[in-house]
Symmetry: D2
Subunit: 147 residues, 4 copies
């Protein structure tokens, strides 16, 4: 259930589409897909492929971080006010195996003035929690897409 207005929902969706279209790292290099972008929330997905594997033949932790960090960026920019990351932390719980479908749900936890806290949870196709990422954002001047 969302308490956002239809206009806020539509704006968030447009912001998500615009950001994703130009994000080479997320889209092309990592092969990440965007499933939704709503006010204060985003869902991204990445299937673990050969290109993501480290020497232990599991998904490089840096790419799980990348999935979560991208989700964070979509969630905290979803109001069409440019926001930047001011800090983050990640906890790894389980490895990502080749073929795993990793879904990352990012959700705003607190927004106080220009500063926000967002939690990203990465799970695999079985529902196991792979990693939890917490990001602190700061809104700066400017909009993502023209108002």
């Amino acid at each position: 259930m969302s308490t956002s207005s239809p206009a806020a929902m539509a704006l968030a969706k447009q912001v998500g589409i615009a950001m994703f279209a130009v994000d080479t790292a997320t889209k092309d290099t990592m092969g990440i897909e965007i499933l939704s972008c709503e006010p204060g929330k985003a869902v991204l997905r990445m299937t673990v492929q050969e290109l993501h594997l480290n020497g232990h033949k599991i998904c490089h932790g840096g790419f799980i971080f990348t999935l979560a960090d991208s989700t964070f960026a979509f969630a905290c920019n979803s109001y069409n006010k440019v926001a930047v990351a001011a800090g983050c932390s990640i906890e790894f719980l389980k490895p990502g195996q080749l073929g795993d479908v990793l879904t990352c749900v990012g959700q705003e936890q607190a927004l106080s003035g220009r500063h926000g806290i967002y939690d990203m949870k990465v799970t695999n196709q079985k529902g196991d929690v792979i990693a939890m990422f917490r990001g602190k954002s700061a809104q700066i001047q400017g909009t993502v897409i023209p108002e």
Copy 2:
């Protein structure tokens, strides 16, 4: 100046070569090079290319994390005792621009029993600090290469 024995230095170098050879994510997907691997220390390098850019046309923070996380892995496994990451944090100070040569130096700060703390510092070609990453490692059973 290193206080490590020639044998420890040689072992660390061999461990680094062996780990790097099979690390698809680091070597192939990211284009990261390894410059050195010594006891408790490693140096890796990544030139920011188009494939690393996010929607702001700067290096994706996740890839700077990946560079530091890989450096951490080489440094904490350099004794040929398998070590895993038990937690980490990163602070971003400056963006990485297209063409920037990012060097990450990882250095052990404390080793107490099986637990270690490693600091990774990412700088660009001008010496500006781009990011600082701190990792906590835990040695588990096993060796990286046969003893």
Copy 3:
């Protein structure tokens, strides 16, 4: 709504009482009260007094950390299996003022084998979020109270 059995609820409550009784730092030095201890969850409270104030005449961040860290300890030991902190991070959102009643709710987010993730949220009497703390726990051998 809790899905825990009455026995698990009673055990968690007993563990909480036993831990609190001997915790000089939390109880006496900080003046923290325990409101509840349930399986995977705990609620503690601290009123900001003169003794908590730093040079800016606001609550020392270290004492907000202490409130959250204690809550974490109660929540992750609530199954009567000794658990220790393996890492934590905190984000400060608003200062605590003299007279503020700070309530910290700690809640398990994930438990995978012996490792758990707990989120602690500190709010004031107006419901403003003061800080968010995330802890990673590891269960070790032993019980808090005799089985």
Copy 4:
């Protein structure tokens, strides 16, 4: 060896004295002493007393955090430009026992514009590392003592 000017050294010392004098939490409640305050650096000390002990009869982690957080505050305000904490992380390596003399050395690692990174290392009287704390600071308007 310090590369700071005598004037900068004298100013940092005065700032330290002024801040410490009004910091009830650090000075009175915790019993922390300040050993030095120099440009970008501070050293504080705390002897573990009964009042610091938690239910395991070791120093509460929150008070080790408090020692490091106070050291951070002195180090990042030492230029007499008001700086606030914008985030921090801590790793605990060993417990503090009753009677241990914990010394915390805080040192600037990077200062880029208004943002700084400071590392605090807490050791006991045997030189064992007890905890490592990293803080990110942001300078805001104002001075600690009149210019």
